[in-house]
Symmetry: C2
Subunit: 283 residues, 2 copies
């Protein structure tokens, strides 16, 4: 079983480590636009071989874990290159453009659109960790367009590394994920920015900041190279979430300015309900 | 050593547990407006005795861990009631109004204004945990206005339970804390609200939400009873932070609308710098 990992960073590296653990026969090949990353990935035991797109015809499984704009760009040629029994899986945080670009590709049936809801705020091969996907949800789009045997092959991997599968159409995926993931990243980045701008003397920040601040700005450590194309591809949905978020913040500010602290209390109390939703995440 | 804990919830309960551990001779008395909370605090071993304001004259140390509006309201009578060797410490997240209200009190020297930067998103006696303050920063305001021996007494407690001390004037405290704590809470509450409003079908939220969402909305579980008076007392500073935060979000949205994703990239990249600041928190 020849598994090609395109993009040997946090996501690609982590799934490579898990695949090695559950499939002893798997031979891992790494492809990365950064020779340094690729070398590091081999050193860390993430892949067995440094490889390149020329070797793709021998792939059993190809996993793409690269920025979503690059995926849209290179996916058609990757499908061109693979053999007829190979399955190509992408792990991007947007699904609509990716599904669109290959919808008429002669090897559409060799592609499976996936979005494993997992990750950390770190990036690069050294951020790869075993068990990242254990118990996490993997959203699969347009499963009916993938050849049945290749679905089975891909799903057996996801299942063995501990993922739960949820099926969804790409339009719904991009709309919902804007709320529960993309908006969180922007809110965190802008919170970090606001505080950094204001607190030029950084001693004042880190002496006074507690775990609450740390938790809300954690995502502001995320990779701009990964996130910029996500926001670009999901522009309309993300702008909609931002408008609603800004509107809610504006309303909160207005209530404060009007000294309507009863309403402020009620805003917070009704949002406390998020406890139950978050408990759901942990199940 | 008679230690009175006024407010036997997360903060008061946690410090009571730590004090018991480091001062074997300490006798803990609990006062709480909720008889149920007080009973629970005794059951959990947080305090030894259920008590009331009438017993305050026998206090060696009084720790106030109640909403900041109630502190402003009752602190003068608590100072009236205590004996001349007692030290009254508050733990509120705002300091200006609290210092202001007792600045001419005949027992001003018996008061120490403190803000331990510690906590969780939970509340009530059952949320109290040992070791909550270990390695955390405690901000002390107007230390020079507290009698020297009483400063020593209070600081020996903070030091024994593992806190680092930072001195600051109340105006600066309230200004900086608006950025690194109060704004985080609002950003989190409004993020939770935005997502709940939109995602009426909650299955869509928790199936798709990952640890990133969980981390950014964690503070939206916080107690409205505790936070409403904090926002009220720190109104001017909080509104300023909100305006800057909304401005930054608006600017981000505009860049997206103008398809200036190079600028979006740069916004995120320059904020990545938050990594170093957060590493500072952990030192």
């Amino acid at each position: 079983m020849n598994v090609f990992i395109i993009g040997t960073g946090l996501m690609g590296g982590s799934i490579a480590l898990d695949i090695q653990q559950v499939f002893e026969e798997a031979v891992l090949y790494g492809i990365d636009k950064s020779p340094l990353h690729l070398k590091k990935a081999k050193e860390l035991g993430i892949v067995h071989h440094e490889s390149s797109l020329e070797e793709l015809p021998k792939a059993t499984i190809v996993i793409m874990a690269i920025p979503v704009d690059t995926t849209v760009h290179v996916l058609p040629e990757i499908l061109d290159a693979v053999n007829d029994q190979a399955v190509v899986i992408d792990m991007g945080s947007t699904k609509q453009q990716i599904c669109e670009v290959i919808k008429n590709h002669p090897k559409r049936r060799n592609f499976l659109a996936a979005h494993p809801i997992a990750g950390t705020e770190f990036s690069g091969p050294q951020a790869a960790i075993r068990g990242l996907f254990q118990g996490k949800t993997n959203i699969i789009c347009e499963v009916e367009k993938t050849a049945f045997k290749l679905q089975e092959k891909a799903l057996s991997i996801f299942s063995k590394i501990g993922m739960r599968i949820r099926y969804m159409d790409p339009v719904s995926h991009d709309k919902h994920i804007a709320y529960v993931s993309h908006l969180s990243h922007i809110s965190s980045f802008m919170l970090g920015k606001t505080v950094i701008e204001k607190e030029k003397n950084e001693r004042d920040i880190f002496d006074m900041a507690g775990s609450g601040f740390e938790s809300t700005v954690r995502l502001a450590k995320s990779s701009p190279a990964m996130w910029t194309p996500i926001f670009e591809q999901n522009k309309a949905n993300v702008i909609e979430t931002l408008e609603e978020y800004i509107g809610n913040l504006q309303k909160f500010k207005n209530l404060m300015q009007e000294d309507d602290f009863q309403a402020i209390y009620e805003e917070m109390e009704s949002t406390n309900h998020i406890k139950n939703i978050l408990n759901g995440i942990k199940i």
